[in-house]
């Protein structure tokens, strides 16, 4: 399960529009440096950014 899918699992109310590059409030990024996907920016008005522990707990 990738980062995007884990976040959707934690917050089922989110849709891909929330990650939209133009209008979304959540930005996921991968710098192709071998470190994988990460949360570049989280400015959702009501949902708080999940912690690493919360993400790790998602199977």
């Amino acid at each position: 399960m990738n980062l995007y899918e884990k976040i959707l699992s934690i917050y089922p109310s989110l849709t891909h529009e929330d990650f939209n590059g133009a209008s979304g409030t959540i930005r996921l990024q991968n710098d192709s440096d071998g470190k994988g996907d990460y949360i570049k920016n989280w400015s959702h008005p009501t949902l708080k950014q999940p912690t690493q522990a919360e993400l790790d707990a998602v199977q």
């Binding site: 990738n2 980062l3 995007y4 849709t15 891909h16 529009e17 990650f19 939209n20 590059g21 133009a22 930005r27 996921l28 990024q29 991968n30 710098d31 192709s32 440096d33 996907d37 570049k40």
Partner: protein, 179 residues
């Protein structure tokens, strides 16, 4: 007439070549100071992609597919990191294009400067293939500033990737004036 002062290296020579035909040619020097730009000190490069790159939907991902260098006049493009770090300060026209070879509902292409979004373009919707391209005019300091291309495919699910068609997949820049 005003004097001409030549300063600098005490060795070597400066050659001015004139046309080998009769006639009068005039070169007017503007009332400004600056570095004369000639092809030798105006870097340019172009790289294309012959390989595919897989992308995770909804993740802005650095492009690593521009690995085939067509020219790089000042050896400023790193085809391993897909990063352009020009060594002359000035203003550069940068262009990039990509073709998404797999499903991409809303394909994006970005130019990043120093790790941050500089400019962005996206197609509203595409199915199967999408060919976004982008241009921008950017100031580069000639030492630490660098450019990269990032890609993104906004979709509800599925997979995305680039096609590796070098007619659509290119990354280039050319200096157009000095600092």
């Amino acid at each position: 007439m005003a004097s001409i002062n030549i300063a600098g290296d005490t060795s070597g020579s400066i050659s001015l070549t004139v046309p080998s035909v009769a006639g009068t040619n005039t070169v007017t020097i503007p009332a400004n100071s600056g570095v004369v730009m000639v092809s030798g000190n105006m870097p340019t490069f172009r790289a294309v992609s012959n390989i595919t790159q897989s992308l995770t939907v909804n993740v802005t991902t650095k492009a690593t597919c521009y690995t085939t260098v067509q020219w790089d006049t000042a050896s400023c493009y790193n085809s391993s990191t897909n990063r352009y770090t020009p060594n002359v300060a000035g203003y550069y026209e940068v262009k990039a294009g990509i073709q998404y070879g797999a499903l991409s509902a809303q394909p994006y292409i970005y130019i990043y400067k120093n790790g941050s979004v500089y400019t962005r373009y996206n197609l509203i919707a595409a199915s199967g293939y999408g060919n976004p391209f982008i241009t921008g005019l950017v100031y580069m300091n000639g030492s630490t500033d660098y450019l990269e291309v990032y890609l993104e495919s906004d979709a509800g699910s599925g997979s995305a990737g680039t096609s590796g068609d070098n007619n659509y997949c290119y990354f280039s820049a050319a200096m157009i004036r000095g600092a």
